[in-house]
């Protein structure tokens, strides 16, 4: 089956990337210019983070150079933000939305993909192509249709409504990933379980799901970061401050008094709001990078 071959190719790609460096590197000797280019690249990519950190440790009256270090180092921007309630509300709401979205999206996609691959026949093929078509629709195209419907059924300022909406938007792509991986699992495994008297659900949870551990981990990470960083729909659907996600809290910190507000404090909010994602990324970067490659090589 076509999808089976594709999935195997993906797995091979991951295996190659995680191999030890000396097995595939093309360069024979390290030259000085490698380090110069590498240093410039790192500088280019860390400069915005440096500027933000730098601004977050200064006093509000310190409006001098944004590249030079603060005239006087202060940490009260951080203690003030952490002492307030906004950032905690943002964290709690974002965590609720991420957990709801991940749970719904992963379970619905994995079950659906299993059903489609094993069910077979024209129904599966039709649903599979429908899935591909839906993946192409950008969110903004549906903006008016979605927002007016959500308003009609009173899902404004409703965290669960937003979670279901983003889970539904993510299902086509996640289901497609699962379909590729499930197609590569031999049917003989299902048949053996069936002979032993296991029903479809039991076969899925006990036999198939453990084999999908790697793809599930990466899909959870991708879904969680997408949901954490989501801006468009939360911006319009969550209007009450008590429902703000962390991204909206950061936006509010920057926009207070038309951007003439407390820039150092806004930067501190931003650093704190980004910290969980960055820390998780540094710990899980192997899975994240593999997941990115796996989900993009089709």
């Amino acid at each position: 089956m076509q999808t089976g071959i594709k999935a195997k190719k993906t797995v091979a790609g991951i295996a190659l990337l995680t191999r030890k460096p000396h097995q595939y590197s093309s360069g024979r000797r390290t030259k000085a210019w490698h380090y110069i280019v590498a240093a410039l690249l790192v500088l280019l990519y860390l400069l915005p983070i440096y500027v933000m950190l730098n601004l977050s440790f200064r006093e509000i009256t310190d409006i001098g150079s944004r590249l030079a270090l603060p005239k006087k180092w202060v940490t009260y921007n951080y203690t003030q933000v952490l002492g307030g309630s906004e950032i905690w509300i943002g964290f709690v709401n974002s965590i609720i939305i991420v957990m709801e979205t991940v749970a719904v999206q992963i379970v619905a996609s994995a079950l659906g993909a299993y059903g489609l691959v094993r069910g077979g026949g024209w129904i599966s093929r039709a649903l599979g192509s429908l899935n591909m078509g839906i993946m192409m629709i950008p969110g903004t195209v549906l903006l008016v249709g979605t927002y007016s419907l959500m308003a009609k059924v009173h899902m404004i300022n409703n965290l669960l409504g937003l979670s279901l909406l983003s889970a539904a938007g993510g299902i086509p792509a996640t289901m497609y990933m699962y379909m590729n991986f499930i197609a590569a699992i031999p049917r003989a495994l299902d048949e053996a379980a069936e002979i032993d008297g296991a029903g479809v659900l039991k076969t899925f949870f006990i036999i198939i799901l453990p084999l999908l551990k790697a793809v599930t981990v990466t899909q959870i990470i991708l879904t969680a970061t997408a949901s954490w960083n989501n801006y468009l729909m939360p911006m319009y659907l969550l209007t009450k401050k008590s429902k703000y996600t962390i991204i909206l809290v950061i936006k509010q910190a920057f926009n207070s008094n038309n951007g003439l507000g407390n820039l150092p404090q806004a930067c501190a909010t931003c650093v704190l709001g980004l910290l969980p994602v960055i820390v998780l990324y540094l710990f899980l970067q192997r899975y994240i990078i593999e997941g990115q490659i796996g989900s993009s090589i089709k």
């Binding site: 000396h22 915005p48 649903l127 903004t140 090589i297």
Partner: protein, 289 residues
């Protein structure tokens, strides 16, 4: 077994229900609303047939916005693929610390595009912006980076490409590592130089990776929204809007919900035609090995 087959189909019900409720229904609703004149909140709606679609043709912002969307889409695609391939070729060489460089180059992707735009806004500001500070260090004059629609569009394209370059880089790294070493060795034995080896061996074998990266970047660039909000908010004078941005402005600021829906459908058609066309063209160029 027949009954088992039906159980399999039943497993797809949760996913199908969610997609029906949150994708199909809104889509139908959008199509329906595109035939009405409606301000987005009142009870009063008026059927205007295809009038909204006809009005798009004479909209003073439409052509400019399509042009900007194409700059965001095609510009980001070219920039991200060229720089991503260069970064991948460079980071495929062996040197100490290259894994850390990869991790750092991919890091901006984990950060919300909206927040990244907000941070970079403090780079392009006229007064005290980091870019102007650097210019002054070398004795230059302050520049209005976001002064015209074209410069704002160009800078947003650059920022978007800078932030998401890591995706293309990873796709190309995986692609490079999937090329069997023997092809390159054979080319070298035949006396090919570095450039010939790249254009005649590496590049043709990378076409599957190129297809993936180009399509991903193209779709991402064509529906660009977040970065525009935080860097220029569509300005100056609505001259750096993308189609996605214009749709939301029409709905939430101008109270033209019906017209906004119609523009949404036109946007969908534009994005679909461009990405399918590009995808089909690239798939034809793939080589078997």
């Amino acid at each position: 077994m027949r009954s088992r087959k039906y159980v399999y189909y039943c497993l797809t019900i949760p996913a199908l229900l969610l997609m029906a409720a949150f994708i199909a229904l809104p889509l139908g609703n959008s199509v329906r609303l595109s035939f009405y004149k409606w301000n987005g909140y009142s009870q009063h709606m008026r059927w205007v047939g295809l009038n909204n679609f006809i009005k798009i043709a004479s909209d003073q912002y439409f052509l400019r916005t399509v042009g900007n969307t194409l700059i965001y889409g095609i510009g980001s695609t070219i920039l991200q693929n060229v720089t991503g391939l260069m970064a991948a070729l460079f980071l495929n060489k062996r040197f100490a610390g290259r894994n850390s460089v990869r991790v750092i180059l991919y890091m901006p992707i984990m950060i919300s595009g909206f927040i990244m735009g907000q941070i970079l806004y403090y780079f392009v500001q006229y007064d005290g912006g980091v870019f102007n500070e650097i210019l002054q260090m070398f004795g230059g004059q302050n520049v209005y980076w976001m002064g015209t629609g074209l410069s704002a569009t160009a800078i947003i394209t650059l920022v978007n490409s800078w932030q998401y370059m890591g995706i293309s880089m990873l796709i190309y790294l995986a692609g490079l590592q999937n090329i069997p070493v023997m092809y390159r060795e054979a080319a070298r034995l035949d006396g090919a130089g570095v450039w010939k080896e790249f254009t005649n061996v590496t590049l043709p074998l990378l076409i599957p990776a190129i297809t993936t990266a180009v399509i991903l970047n193209l779709i991402g660039g064509l529906k660009l929204y977040d970065v525009i909000v935080s860097m220029s908010n569509g300005g100056p004078n609505r001259a750096s809007m993308s189609l996605s941005f214009y749709i939301s402005v029409l709905y939430f600021n101008d109270a033209k919900a019906g017209y906004s829906s119609a523009l949404g459908i036109v946007t969908f058609l534009i994005i679909m035609v461009l990405s399918w066309g590009t995808s089909a063209w690239l798939h034809k160029k793939e080589v078997e090995y």
